[in-house]
């Protein structure tokens, strides 16, 4: 009951501050919640022709006439109906079980009596900077935030709490700004809060802590989701978010780059990496899944994520029908969809700055050597030119491309392209034979050609589907016959490939034969491997990181031409047996895109040139780029025995090029896609074409930009005219500090949202945010600089009753830290933390069975780190969507399947089991015990310091007595055999604890476990 009273208080309070009823904040929520389902924007659900969501329609009335008579509530049908005693007449109908409470009826009456003035929904009207209110206790106010908060408190007859003590504040600041507790050194060197804030806000850990907030909204994950849940190498995006946050990239640029960084002029690798936001959507590669179906699901997901994270709108409803509560129409939903429909799900070969530097240096050196060689004698240039001329003089082979029709039920989808190539999309098996048929009119067959081609869909542009974009072809099997029922083998010979890998054992770590990951007898190598009748050997284009993604070509000949008599039927077996054993991991070595052709004549050297070399050769020399020219020369050089020595040197340089990372990004398709509205959101029911457009109830598209470009849409999202962008972001920042946003429903600013606790403060902050140039660090400084933030969090019984959620802010925030911070505190307090930034995600200890069948759909690799990587911040823990890291899930981390801008905050027994019994929690306990035993001083002193490492404060005498006695009794009772087991099982990999006497280690661990399990330790106080 007390809660209800508080809620009522909150609702009624603005009446006390304002004389007149406010439509947007007081009336519209009542109408929206109770009436809009049948009298709202969705015309298909409209009852009695009455709409109450627009002024015009509401005043006009419904089929039965007017329902609102401004100035006369008693004559208004609306009031009659909401108070009617007849169950057939009363609104909302009794079946809805939503009869209006008397205070809402009173508000409606007052509103009509005051003239039924309309106004738009507050959140859809651009914020105006409200005046900073006058308050009595002016000396308390440190910045305008405090004035707004205090005005509210004074109206309520409350006073703010006393300031938190310096240590509590330091820990609060440290946890809030960098997500780590202060060290003992930081505590003893504590300076003024202002200096501490500057230290923390410029720490690189700031980006880790606040990046994590955004990554929830961005539904970041290290795996693809759905059944296979394949691992991704998406950490460049995560690091981009952290770096951009550290660099205090203005929020508008931060959003624009994530939605359309690829379309910015001169987009850098970073700009493209930012579009990883769009690629956080799940992708379904289960057998039989249709890539197009899940491409569309991906767009729905992107709209959902943009809606929640940037617009503060739950757009999802409008996927199927016009929104019931907010003025977002079905049509407008697909208008936004149209902006995103051109997204190409692609990837790039991402380099860290160090890798980039090494690569550039090596390529420059190669370039210098090539140039030196070329200039070393006029003979060389002459020979090179004559080689080109000889080639150009060759006849052009006439290739007939086969239109391949896939047979069989493997579940792999080979998508036919207009050029008759096929692309292996979605599910890729790791070892199998795919059979195709085709037919063609050709008098005889003499040769066949397989083109291994690039496509933006493939890892790093392909041409293969391995994580490096490479491929292996185990056997080339093309059969033919005049009668489709009598297809016969053909005797292929003379295999030639444009690139020939050296004969190498298959990399058994990437393509393991079984779960043991032992070497096996499969090999990759030159073209002959595709025609040796041995499925254990394969041709592969894999060479080195600089050239792995070049397209390639293979030709084969028939010793005797095959006379066809006109029409010929083919069966083509695509034999690929060089992937790993597990198709639920990234172990495929399939060709990504290929095209098969035959000719009546034998191939010549032109046909066997690398495709990029051929392309250059056919260009007039003046039109070749220097890079193309170099490539052509290099190819010639490689074929000349006299350059064997320098070729060897250059190959050595190529071999040193670091392997880039397959980073998922978005690009724009070359061919625009048509967008059609889907009836009831069902993609099998496309209706009319929809052009890109933004919802009319929000601000217009920025002028002077291409109105159909994704970049314009991105700019629109964070346009200064947007009524929502700034409010949504400042509200989420506020939420992270205080546990609840000024608007509690941080994902929904629409009509159904609860009222903000401090509407003027929200608007003031939003205006301040925009006028600061979307400066997020400025907002952080304002909040942590306020007296509001710095209050003690002590809870009086009065406040506990009146404001249990601390909406009025008469005290400081106190709540359990987020999942990641729980882990980070354990690691930091115990000294285990390995605080380096960025890089691949890591695998801290977790029970192995979680990643094996039948818990995981397929076996997953979780190679537990055995060095300091084990103790990285939880931000870097690898996140599988289908089997999330259990410690994090238990503390309410979302699994990344959908955008999450507001986590639940629970306190459960399972959390206690984690901090009491889980491997890393114990390793941290032993590490903290190690600190207790190695710190100087008496046990009382060292325990006291350990307490301080966990909570930042010193224990009081009673606490210390308890802990010291616990230590002494644990020491007296210590069982050496058990202590030995404890040590063996949980000794941190970075420490040697064997020097400690076992009884002492055991007793200190007992104390350390208590400290790490305290509510205070995992709570922001």
């Amino acid at each position: 009951m007390r809660i209800t009273r508080t809620a009522a208080l909150l609702l009624l309070l603005p009446t006390a501050l304002r004389a007149e009823v406010d439509f947007a904040t007081q009336i519209q929520p009542i109408l929206s919640q109770n009436c809009y389902a049948c009298h709202g924007p969705d015309d298909s659900a409209l009852e009695g022709g009455l709409r109450l969501d627009t002024q015009e329609r509401a005043l006009k009335g419904g089929d039965g006439g007017k329902v609102i008579v401004p100035g006369d509530p008693d004559a208004s049908e609306l009031i009659k109906r909401v108070t009617h005693s007849d169950p057939d007449e009363i609104m909302p109908p009794p079946v809805k079980k939503k009869a209006l409470p008397p205070e809402q009826v009173a508000l409606l009456k007052q509103w009509i009596a005051e003239g039924a003035k309309w106004g738009t929904h507050w959140a859809f009207t651009a914020p105006q900077r409200p005046p900073v209110p006058q308050v009595k206790k002016r000396e308390w106010v440190k910045n305008p935030i405090d004035a707004f908060v205090l005005a509210r408190l004074e109206a309520q007859g409350l006073s703010p709490a006393e300031p938190a003590d310096a240590t509590t504040l330091l820990r609060r600041l440290s946890l809030d700004l960098i997500g780590l507790p202060p060290t003992l050194e930081e505590i003893s060197a504590m300076k003024s809060p202002e200096l501490e804030i500057e230290r923390l806000i410029s720490s690189p850990h700031f980006g880790e802590r606040w990046g994590r907030e955004w990554l929830d909204a961005a539904r970041y994950s290290d795996s693809a989701g759905y059944e296979k849940d394949l691992a991704r190498m998406h950490h460049f995006y995560r690091d981009w978010v952290v770096d951009a946050t550290n660099a205090n990239m203005p929020y508008d640029a931060f959003v624009i780059k994530q939605i359309a960084g690829d379309l910015l002029p001169d987009a850098t690798q970073d700009d493209r990496i930012a579009t990883g936001f769009l690629r956080n959507s799940m992708t379904n590669e289960e057998g039989g899944a249709k890539p197009e179906q899940f491409r569309i699901e991906g767009i729905f997901d992107r709209i959902d994520a943009i809606g929640k994270s940037v617009l503060g709108l739950t757009a999802q409803c409008a996927q199927c029908h016009t929104h019931k509560y907010d003025p977002l129409t079905h049509e407008e939903y697909y208008g936004m969809y149209a902006f995103l429909n051109g997204i190409e799900e692609t990837s790039l070969a991402a380099h860290t700055p160090a890798e980039r530097q090494t690569t550039d240096r090596l390529l420059a050196e190669i370039s210098i050597r090539e140039t030196q060689l070329r200039q070393s004698s006029p003979e060389i240039e002459k020979d090179y030119l004559s080689w080109q001329q000889q080639l150009l003089a060759l006849p052009r082979t006439e290739w007939h491309t086969l239109e391949l029709y896939q047979l069989g039920d493997s579940g792999q989808k080979y998508w036919p392209q207009p050029d008759r190539s096929i692309i292996n999309m979605g599910y890729a098996n790791t070892r199998g034979t795919e059979v195709f048929t085709s037919s063609l009119e050709i008098p005889q067959i003499r040769a066949a050609r397989v083109e291994v081609m690039n496509d933006p869909y493939l890892p790093m542009n392909g041409p293969g589907r391995s994580t490096r974009g490479t491929a292996a072809l185990s056997e080339f099997v093309l059969r033919a016959g005049a009668d489709p029922e009598k297809i016969e083998p053909l005797k292929w010979t003379n295999p030639v490939a444009s690139v020939n890998a050296a004969e190498t054992p298959l990399d058994h770590m990437r393509f393991p034969n079984d779960g043991n990951r032992k070497p096996d007898d499969r090999k990759i190598g030159p073209a002959a491997f595709a025609l040796d009748g041995n499925e254990k050997t394969a041709w592969s284009n894999e060479r080195d990181a600089a050239r792995n993604n070049d397209p390639a070509v293979l030709t084969f000949e028939l010793a005797e031409p095959f006379a066809t008599g006109g029409k010929v039927h083919f069966k083509y077996n695509l034999v690929q047996r060089h992937g790993g054993y597990n198709s639920d991991e990234n172990q495929t070595f399939n060709l990504g895109r290929l095209r098969l052709s035959v000719s009546a004549t034998a191939p010549n050297a032109l046909d066997q040139l690398p495709p990029l070399v051929l392309e250059t050769l056919l260009l007039e020399p003046a039109k070749r780029t220097p890079q193309q020219e170099q490539r052509l020369f290099a190819h010639w050089r490689e074929t000349q025995p006299r350059f064997a020595e320098i070729t060897k040197q250059i190959e050595t340089l190529y071999a040193q090029v670091p392997q880039p990372t397959w980073a998922l990004v978005a690009a724009e398709t070359k061919q625009p896609r048509e967008t059609r509205l889907f009836e009831r959101g069902d993609q099998t029911q496309p209706k009319h074409i929809v052009k890109p457009r933004v919802p009319a109830f929000l601000h217009p598209l920025p002028a002077g930009e291409n109105p159909e470009s994704r970049l314009t849409f991105a700019k629109w999202l964070v346009d200064p005219k947007s009524p929502v962008a700034a409010r949504v972001m400042v509200n989420r920042i506020w939420q992270a500090y205080f546990g609840i946003g000024l608007l509690e429903t941080s994902e929904d600013f629409g009509h159904q949202a609860a009222r903000p606790s401090h509407p003027e403060l929200l608007d003031w902050l939003a205006c301040e945010f925009m006028s600061s140039g979307w400066d997020r660090k400025h907002m952080h400084r304002l909040i942590v600089g306020s007296a509001t933030y710095r209050q003690s969090s002590r809870l009086t019984s009065e406040l506990r009753e009146m404001d249990p959620q601390n909406r009025l802010l008469a005290r400081g925030p106190r709540f359990r830290v987020p999942a990641e911070t729980v882990r980070d505190i354990q690691l930091a307090a115990s000294g285990l933390l390995h605080p380096v930034l960025g890089g691949r995600s890591v695998f801290p200890p977790a029970p192995a069975y979680l990643f094996q069948r039948p818990v995981s759909y397929g076996p997953k690799t979780w190679d537990v780190e055995t060095d300091a990587q084990r103790y990285r911040r939880a931000l870097y823990t690898f996140r599988f969507r289908s089997v999330p890291y259990p410690m994090l899930t238990t503390f309410d981390a979302p699994n990344g399947s959908v955008s999450c801008v507001r986590r639940t905050l629970s306190t459960t027994p399972l959390q206690a089991l984690v901090t009491l019994n889980e491997q890393v929690s114990l390793e941290a306990a032993l590490a903290l015990a190690h600190r207790i035993l190695t710190d100087s001083g008496t046990p009382r002193e060292t325990i006291s310091r350990a307490f301080q490492r966990c909570t930042a404060r010193l224990p009081d005498a009673e606490e210390l007595d308890a802990l010291e006695k616990l230590y002494q009794s644990a020491l007296a009772e210590a069982d050496v055999a058990n202590a030995q087991i404890l040590l063996q099982t949980y000794q941190p990999v970075t420490l040697d604890l064997t020097k400690h006497p076992l009884p002492q280690l055991s007793a200190a661990t007992t104390v350390a476990r208590v400290l790490l399990n305290l509510d205070e330790t995992i709570t922001k106080n």
Binding site: N284, G288, C317, P804, Y849, P854, I981, Y986
Partner: protein
């Protein structure tokens, strides 16, 4: 709030006494009871797990969902189609394939007749494959629905639809809704327990039992039938039970002191959570130890302690339900017979048939079947058309079979029909949403009224769909 049962834990008060006496400490003037029970004013301390009454008197109190992941073939097991056998090797009628989307096969693949002889079971004469003699022996306790249909034909989306009422990830699962609606009868065990057996893990992963936007206390908790029954349940190696108790006492003592100075009732919730964790450590190993069952009971299920099997999980499910766990879901992901249809179905039926029947019989003997609803089925059916040579079937959303038993459903009852090829459900069609509405109805909920406000609107399990399948209700 902490349940009263906790406060009578003699084992615990032993060590608590030790902590207070030997350490010369006391909890001050506040008695333990009031320390843990006195703050009911705050919403934060209200136990979301406490038992709650549904909308109307319920037929069933508990649920055991036997989720046959991968999707069993209705045609070979439950839905005999003589016409299909006659048309074996022929093309499917073109009009059936209009607008049909298949996953692996080309829709025009040849038809494949059912592979196993059927038999009439029970007094009711329910037809099932001979492969299922044990389930057949329970026919008079079963409502068999042959007219199920769904919207999705890939595993993960279809499982998520079955589990959450939506193909889009992020919604609360059925078990979470039930936990949210009814709370739990046992405060020492989670309300919603999940176990997995079979060849693979569930395609939909943990989203099948996630709480979505409901408070995360309603998440399904994974139990493990071998090794540690619940993740991190066991004391750390080298830490004795008494040391663990001592640690928790010290933690709670310090937490309580903190509460006295800071006044945040959340601290009490954490104290209660630690107590419950300790009790769970005591209770769960006993609950999950099926070797404590008499040999004849183990035999009835075909259970073998120490193995990971569906039979073990069924027996464990009964033990959990007996102890007040609200919702137990067993995933057995083994039914994706794109190939090896005959061999795999034989094996799968061997693995599950006896245990399913034992579960029904055992619950009945204990008088628990009336209040426990058992649901059996997968995420979709399988094609009447062949995949591969002559021994496989593809995914098929248009028709499949599920059965229910116990809490409020008729025994010996058959609902719905498919066409003569088993391609489309044609009579008394039951969509996944209808099934979910019916499950909630049996638990005493109007599926339209069981809502949760999130993201600006009231969500429900059945979204805007769902009709209670009245015909199967007692």
């Amino acid at each position: 709030m902490i349940p009263p049962s906790l406060l009578h834990d003699t084992q615990r008060s032993f060590s608590r006494r030790w902590f207070m006496k030997d350490c010369g400490l006391s909890l001050g003037s506040v008695a333990l009871t009031s320390m843990l029970g006195g703050q009911s004013a705050s919403a934060a301390t209200i136990n979301p797990q406490s038992p709650k009454a549904p909308h109307f008197p319920a037929k069933a109190k508990n649920v055991i969902f036997l989720f046959m992941g991968g999707a069993p073939s209705h045609i070979d097991l439950f839905d005999q189609k003589p016409e299909l056998i006659k048309m074996d090797g022929k093309n499917p009628p073109a009009e059936l394939l209009k607008g049909y989307r298949s996953a692996f096969i080309r829709p025009e693949n040849k038809l494949l007749g059912g592979k196993f002889p059927f038999k009439k079971f029970g007094k009711c004469g329910m037809e099932m494959a001979e492969l299922l003699p044990h389930i057949g022996s329970c026919a008079d306790d079963i409502s068999l629905i042959r007219s199920m249909h769904t919207d999705a034909f890939n595993h993960a989306p279809a499982q998520i639809l079955m589990s959450t009422g939506s193909q889009q990830f992020g919604r609360p699962s059925l078990g979470s809704w039930v936990s949210y609606g009814l709370g739990s009868e046992n405060q020492n065990l989670p309300a919603f327990v999940v176990m997995s057996s079979g060849f693979k893990g569930p395609s939909g992963g943990n989203s099948n039992w996630a709480s979505g936007f409901l408070p995360s206390v309603h998440d399904g908790v994974s139990f493990n039938s071998i090794g540690e029954p619940v993740l991190y349940l066991s004391n750390p190696k080298g830490i004795t039970r008494q040391q663990q108790r001592q640690t928790i006492d010290a933690v709670n003592f310090l937490n309580h002191k903190r509460f006295e100075s800071i006044g945040d009732p959340e601290i009490n919730t954490r104290i209660a959570a630690f107590e419950m964790a300790f009790r769970m450590q005591d209770v769960a190993p006993e609950v999950t130890d099926i070797s404590l069952e008499p040999e004849h009971v183990q035999k009835m299920y075909g259970a073998q302690p120490g193995k990971r099997s569906f039979a073990n999980n069924c027996l464990l499910a009964r033990r959990l339900i007996e102890r007040g766990v609200r919702f137990v879901e067993l995933f057995h992901e083994s039914w994706d017979q794109h190939g090896n249809l005959v061999g795999d179905l034989k094996k799968n039926c061997r693995d599950v048939d006896q245990a399913c029947a034992a579960l029904i019989t055992d619950l009945k003997q204990r008088g628990l079947l009336d209040e426990t609803l058992i649901i059996w089925g997968g995420e979709f059916g399988r094609t009447p058309m062949v995949q591969g040579g002559a021994d496989g079937r593809d995914h098929h959303p248009n028709a499949f079979t599920m059965w229910l038993a116990g809490g409020g459903v008729k025994g010996g009852f058959e609902l719905g029909k498919t066409d003569e090829l088993g391609f489309n459900a044609v009579e008394d069609r039951v969509h996944v949403h209808d099934l979910n509405a019916t499950i909630l109805h049996l638990l005493g909920f109007d599926h339209i009224q069981l809502t949760y406000r999130a993201q600006g609107r009231d969500f429900r399990l059945t979204d805007v769909h769902g009709h209670v399948v009245k015909k199967i209700l007692t």
